[in-house]
């Protein structure tokens, strides 16, 4: 029954990866900003939720505060850091280094405020229930998968049905044409950062309730987001969904063959091979020149 257990754990990991990565994928796909500090938005949201829980404000207030913190951080990054760099045509790496720097600062600020050790919120949701003999599932697994369905569905509807959503997709295709249509690319970019940062909240809350938080979580979150985005194909929301599950399942099912310490290497081996063999990703358009 090992493989079934690993499949279920893999589905939970995958759901979490998909939820984590979709925000970065949206931001990167539309604005082409390599928003490495996305992991910092995740950590901020998770710790604000944790703080609200410790302060006894309840889950709903915690989620709202976490959402506000993540969105404020994302929009501030766009305005204060990325906009000035792009104004003088900063190269991709200039943006990356600036973003990485902010990520380091946030990690250490969070560490100073909340301490550097692991914290977790105790909840019955993370207690495993025996589904059948030898196979354990925590209710959080179902919540994660449910969140994936809701958030990906809502995001697809938003991108197709609303004015802002269509504008976001247009920004990905051609920033020049956006201006021709009388829209302001900066405002659409801000919308991409607000929405993309908002999307860290479900993943951050589930992580806070489940495996727990530490301030250094951000860079892991970021690496997974990047891997899922590229494996899925830059700019493809369905791609990131599939890639999230592929990576989650691969990481867990690989434990049948190798020791669990190697499971993270599996993710990055997949990333490396996909870039070598099919750079456009599973669902991407041909973009790698």
């Amino acid at each position: 029954m090992l493989w079934l257990q690993l499949t279920i754990t893999g589905l939970q990991t995958g759901a979490l990866y998909a939820l984590t990565a979709v925000g970065f994928s949206l931001i990167f796909g539309t604005t082409r900003v390599f928003h490495f500090a996305h992991g910092a938005a995740f950590v901020l949201a998770a710790y604000v939720f944790y703080w609200a829980d410790q302060a006894g404000l309840g889950i709903a207030v915690g989620v709202i505060l976490a959402a506000l913190a993540a969105m404020a951080f994302g929009v501030a990054m766009d305005r204060i850091v990325y906009a000035p760099i792009q104004r003088h045509e900063g190269s991709f790496f200039t943006v990356f280094v600036a973003s990485f720097g902010v990520g380091i600062a946030v990690q250490n600020i969070v560490g100073m405020v909340f301490g550097r050790s692991f914290v977790t919120i105790n909840t019955p949701l993370s207690n495993s229930v025996e589904l059948m003999s030898g196979v354990y599932v925590a209710p959080l697994t179902w919540i994660a998968i449910f969140c994936v369905a809701v958030f990906f569905g809502a995001l697809q509807l938003f991108l197709r049905r609303t004015h802002t959503g269509v504008a976001l997709r247009a920004l990905a295709d051609s920033p020049e044409l956006i201006r021709v249509f009388g829209l302001d690319p900066r405002r659409i970019s801000a919308a991409a950062f607000a929405l993309g940062s908002l999307l860290v909240v479900p993943g951050a809350v589930i992580t806070a309730l489940g495996s727990g938080l530490n301030p250094a979580l951000g860079s892991h979150v970021m690496l997974i987001s990047l891997a899922a985005t590229i494996v899925g194909g830059i700019g493809s929301i369905n791609g990131v969904l599939v890639a999230g599950f592929v990576l989650g399942l691969a990481e867990n099912l690989s434990q049948i063959f190798v020791q669990s310490q190697w499971s993270e290497a599996v993710t990055f081996a997949i990333l490396f091979l996909v870039i070598l063999l099919k750079p456009a990703g599973l669902f991407g358009r041909i973009q790698a020149r």
């Binding site: 790496f93 720097g101 600062a105 290497a265 490396f272 070598l276």
Partner: protein, 309 residues
């Protein structure tokens, strides 16, 4: 105090080698690698294992480490030939993360998370070099050799081919340059020279583990290059010295709470990096030749928003 300065000097020399070799592919060939610490690590591990089991002579460890790094760097050259921009960065990142797992899990070779302890001192002509007073000149000599090699290469026709590829790959190809070969050679040279820093590091510290060869370190090296000035001769050295001196200087600020000094250093380092990219993205050292100055900042077009596709 003198020991402290000498120690700092050795570390600056080691990191200057890393920054110079990264600048060689980043600034001149336009290959933005986030896996440079991997070759630092390969050099250090190979030198450590060779000196523990075969010979501690620098004339044995150095070639062995350089050879190993050169061969393994083909793993980085491969994606460099296939993809560019974000895709190559992601590939190098994948390689970096994979290598960290190998460094920390391949216990029989790397000693696992605990690392390798008791690496013998570097020997030159049978003479053991005790650290750090006598080690500093050796580190400087290796640094000088690396500077000389990269400067000669950059100023030769090979270097001009590299900059041609950086500025326009198709134009270079149109002029009959063998682009894949030139790119591969540049990656191999950069990795082999980076391994010399690893040899020095292993011999100097006499203890190594995966902590020194992680993604954070790759980014630190990259930050040294960018902060100093990408594509300049002395920028990487300035960047390396600055980033290594910063923590020491900050600990003199006595009004900072001592318990949080490490975190505060990191916050200043992070925010400083961001601020520098906003206000002085070209780095501290400007590019030398006049026609360079007239051009816009380093290769902006590739990563311009929406310009890929």
């Amino acid at each position: 105090m003198e020991a402290y300065l000498l120690n700092l000097g050795v570390l600056i020399a080691i990191y200057a080698i890393l920054a110079i070799t990264l600048n060689f592919i980043m600034g001149y060939a336009g290959i933005f690698s986030l896996a440079h610490a991997v070759f630092f690590g390969i050099g250090a591990y190979v030198a450590a294992v060779v000196s523990m089991h075969v010979s501690a002579s620098i004339f044995v460890t150095m070639p062995a480490a350089m050879l190993a790094a050169a061969v393994l760097s083909l793993a980085l050259a491969l994606p460099a030939l296939r993809v560019r921009g974000e895709y190559f960065v992601a590939a190098s990142l994948g390689l970096q993360m994979f290598a960290v797992t190998v460094f920390s899990e391949w216990k029989s070779f790397t000693g696992g998370l605990g690392g390798l302890v008791g690496i013998p001192a570097v020997k030159i002509f049978g003479q053991e070099v005790y650290r750090p007073a006598s080690f500093f000149p050796i580190a400087l000599a290796v640094l000088a050799a690396v500077v000389a090699i990269t400067q000669i290469l950059v100023r030769s026709s090979f270097g001009r081919s590299l900059t041609a590829i950086r500025d326009s790959e198709s134009a270079a190809e149109g002029f009959g340059k063998n682009v894949p070969l030139i790119k591969t050679i540049s990656v191999v040279i950069s990795a082999a020279l980076a391994a010399t820093a690893g040899v020095l590091y292993a011999g100097y510290m006499s203890f190594i583990n995966v902590e020194s060869f992680t993604l954070d370190n790759s980014v630190l090296i990259m930050a040294m290059v960018i902060i100093g000035g990408t594509g300049t001769s002395w920028g990487p050295v300035v960047g390396a010295a600055l980033l290594l001196l910063l923590p020491g200087l900050l600990s003199y600020l006595s009004f900072l709470p001592q318990a949080d000094i490490g975190a505060i250093q990191q916050i200043i380092y992070g925010l400083g990096m961001a601020a520098l990219m906003i206000f002085r993205p070209g780095g501290l050292v400007r590019r030398g030749s006049p026609q360079r100055k007239a051009r816009p900042k380093a290769a902006p077009t590739r990563a311009k928003r929406g310009a890929v596709q």
